[in-house]
Symmetry: D2
Subunit: 281 residues, 4 copies
């Protein structure tokens, strides 16, 4: 039976890039999801397993990070074109390169009228929540927020932790800190103005995240919860859950490039999970 | 063997409420996700199948819609308390009612400096996309957006459609229109300023959605695509996909209440799917 | 500016069909997800809002249910062809109809060597879980399962429940019962053979679901939990969560068809949520 | 204002473990999702950022892989207990360790009556699909399957690929191969028995995956598609999409352990994406 390879393509999907541009007094940050597809003279890898012309998809991923280091990334279209050009220019047997980029813009956190120089919140997915439990003794009201993405590009360290034979993590004196915040607070006073209380608490949480000099996620969680309790007398306890959504520095050394805290890979799993409940003493 | 019913509760989850408040010249709209749990004297339904004290979860859903009609819904906490109170006050065998509400706030669409009176966009989930296909002949650049939720509370009709023996749908001269917009446009001119082109096109799409007197989703899709082509000369075609995310008027008649376009159930499936590509003639 | 409608299509997505074929002594059941797309002479609805040739997507949904009643549904391909033919045959202005069907097959529950005549489990998504909490006092081991879909086509009723002014639900003496089971049991004896204990408990849960004459979800939950405790002496308590995944009988009356418990719409939201914990007395 | 840290815990979530046990002539494989939570004397990290007692969540992840190497993993409960014990035994300031494990069992692929020694399929999520496009010229029928997870523990290599300055990937002469197969085939003959054709094609795809000596994903894709065309004369083309769901060998060297192809981390992103269409010549 004769079989024809009527169409074939291959590539790398879901390459997650975090790029920090560290200007004086102001950091820019973008988080992109990149997919690369190549078409061209790859039939022999299909038919006889001859891989000599196959650019590994692992290499495509490396190209994303290496070019990200050298690109200004002012628009996703410009960066996509640079990636598309790369494969055509370096590999004569590539007939077409297809780049797809998806971005969910990050918004700069504001403190009063000022934009924060290095702290950001995600526009997307945040929801407001509340729960009322009413038994014959009266209502308990808890409100909260969920899926609020927060990221800061400096002002976060993690050093001096316990070391044993299973420890491979290095001290980090200046790392990216990203989390997807879930908060839930309980009202001691059910006559409060719910909407303005919510606004006050959310502002305290977000601004403290931005301004706190973090020595660990736990440390920042504690500061955020304390700030919420201080800002809104109507609540008597608050629980925060802050997964540590790791942004891992990419090793660009093999490509002869320095990575001065600029190019990171965003990961979802595994992730740290830090939870704490703060109450009035 | 003796078995003890150590704990039991039941309720209704994922009750989706859309509430429109039709003020003169300005509509308010909120979309909530409500869950209700009751605890109390329901053990006989477990042990012997005696349902006489069981409030059906279908009734709980009805209560959400009936109370939504009569509640100002200024905060989710107030509405949750009204729901929690309802079950305790009307049913002596209910020991506790637990209400959970989740809301993703809708933002009013702006036209220049003005807020639109009845058109809204969801803050959440929207992403920016681009795709570059580069072959030896030069690049093709397509940009777009995805997961942009749009809703308007008036200015949308669907009447005069084909009727056959399978038609049960009634004409609607004034309905809610909700969609999750996906758009993709192709650049004829690759020297454009990408970011400002994107902004121009997005604004044309969103404002046309808000202002168009819609005779069908198709009709609005065509107007939106035409507006985008008119606003940005650098693109030569645009494809829009607009699922019809139905908001269905709840029949409050059984509860002695009128529903003058105020209380709707939001549904995800099934949904209409309307797609069109507009190009320069 | 001249604008051309270069391509357009529309249709209905995520139409969920449950079809029961009630043979003597043995029921067949299939759950399908159907999508319909039509191409043809629909341009006027786009350009001027003239809907006279528009077959509402609501009608397409009705066609799925009406044809399902009359089709043997021996393969999804045959049913897709019948749907595709319908729109071409009845509407001369339809140029092409595109039907997509997705099915996740249901497996008949076995009792010993016998296939159950009317009870089914979903192959998909089920996971095994365990949790160990170890403090200085010794371990607590809980195991469970999650996302086990169960459905029976008869042997389930819900009647005689509390009625008040918000009740619109009718008594159902013979309904479909579907749930996505989550179970978690606690071991009193940590020297048990974990894998065979799990197998014993799962079998007790599934077989009791199949064989129980259900007067409510609560009633079946209680029977299932009791059976698990009886089957496995090593556990001392079990918590079951059983959302009521409603399958709602479709009204085929408008199409001149009787629906004798054959054609249902599957829904995910809202859904009832029933939870109970059973322990040894 | 006095603030009390009323509760706190932390840990690592979504640690993905693939464990291969290489018996003579027969491999066992399990894929687990592990979460670890610790409670204990960690308050100083919250209140003053003193991390000296903090076991990094990165270390917890390392412990999962190191213990997996040394554990027989006959039940998830046993492994959870070993993990729980580890943290209590090695760290006196840990008051409680909570381990949660989720597993979706893999099924051994069968060739006739025989179980394959090293190839597996996931029970879950697989769906059957079909699409019919009917225009005035007659129907086109395409059927397929989606979300079929396949994994083999040997018989897969990737060597001799193109190397340039961005290549860091090493040759792999014996690696794990995992994919989530999507297949779609087109019928040239619409009088076929759909269900038996589907069964024949699925068997050809799965068995070829199991038995093929893979030199690349492309190579196996080509063999699988060719086998389907050979097995079912009624189809004239088949498109396969095979993401390369990488299973990455964990470096256990820092813990003084050898990893002879036994302990892997399962990853979802980034992933390779290989697509090909095979047709009759």
């Amino acid at each position: 039976m004769a079989v024809v390879l009527a169409h074939h393509s291959y590539g790398k999907s879901r390459v997650r890039l975090t790029k920090v541009t560290r200007l004086a007094g102001r950091h820019e940050v973008r988080e992109l999801l990149v997919a690369i597809t190549l078409e061209g003279d790859f039939a022999l890898s299909h038919t006889v397993g001859d891989n000599r012309l196959v650019i590994p998809t692992d290499t495509m991923k490396n190209v994303v990070y290496a070019l990200a280091k050298q690109h200004r990334l002012e628009s996703i279209e410009d960066f996509a074109m640079a990636l598309a050009d790369h494969f055509l220019e370096h590999h004569g047997h590539v007939a077409a390169s297809i780049i797809r980029i998806t971005e969910q813009p990050l918004l700069r956190i504001r403190i009063g009228d000022l934009e924060h120089p290095h702290a950001f919140a995600g526009a997307a997915r945040e929801v407001e929540t509340c729960g009322v439990k009413r038994s014959r003794g009266g209502p308990i009201v808890e409100s909260g927020l969920d899926e609020l993405f927060l990221l800061k590009t400096t002002g976060s360290a993690f050093t001096g932790f316990l070391r044993d034979r299973y420890t491979t993590l290095a001290d980090a004196s200046d790392r990216l800190l990203a989390t997807m915040l879930t908060a839930e607070w309980r009202y001691a006073d059910a006559t409060v103005s719910w909407n303005s209380a919510r606004e006050t608490i959310r502002r305290a949480l977000v601004q403290t995240f931005a301004e706190h000099e973090s020595l660990s996620v736990q440390h920042t969680l504690h500061a955020m919860g304390s700030a919420a309790l201080a800002a809104c007398p109507a609540i008597d306890r608050i629980t925060l859950s802050m997964p540590n959504k790791h942004r891992i520095l990419v090793d660009l050394g093999p490509f002869g490039l320095e990575n001065a805290g600029e190019v990171f890979v965003a990961t979802d799993e595994p992730h740290g999970t830090i939870t704490g409940t703060l109450a009035r003493g």
